[in-house]
Subunit: 138 residues, 2 copies
Amino acid sequence: MRELPLCDAAKAFVAAARVCRIATVSADGEPHVIPVCPVFDNEATVYVDIGPSSATARAVAHDDRVAVIFDVYDDDWSKLRKVILKCRAERVTGEEQEAAWKRIRATYPQHRDIGWKPRLTLALRAYAWLADGIERKR
Amino acid sequence: MRELPLCDAAKAFVAAARVCRIATVSADGEPHVIPVCPVFDNEATVYVDIGPSSATARAVAHDDRVAVIFDVYDDDWSKLRKVILKCRAERVTGEEQEAAWKRIRATYPQHRDIGWKPRLTLALRAYAWLADGIERKR
């Protein structure tokens, strides 16, 4: 894993993602992983909004470490790309939550049809990262 | 989470996947997640081949629990689909490894160009699962 900051190619790759998968560890030590729709602050924080009673919510209440993977699959394996962020999750409220939701509304306008409203909004603050394949694609 | 067996729709969804993401827990309790190219035995075991000195290999040597997510993203959120398998990882060798590699070679013929050879082949044996969106798509 690499130290921050992320390189520009990694920032651009993360910023463009419509989906990522976040892995957590439950209280009994079991891994869990779900897909989520992220927004990125273009520096080192990914915001996601999850169900407050979900397995992921219970996991981060117990252990705030979250591994986040952004990747693109292609049957041409020379085009495989990924960025993994190791993060700590922090519940955000107030101004930071509203700023995150401003990004979410702009990025996913379809949330209006779904009726998706702020639930448990997490700031996933990266403390380490790695990337593969993103430089050669740019 | 649901008990086994998987329903037919979940089996078909997993069997069709070209990529999935597998989450593990490292010795220090940190979550990790990587993308892998799976093959499925059409019942309850997913085979993947990973680097023997990778973070994932070290993690499963310490704790064999692996969460596997198969999902398809679409900006039309009515089309979101996912299957999550909770598994135990077991290194396979001999006949079971060769059978897994027969599937891998058939599913990913491009491995020949990459020069991908058996490394650490894991059988991810599901013990619980959940699915969302797969029934309404079939």
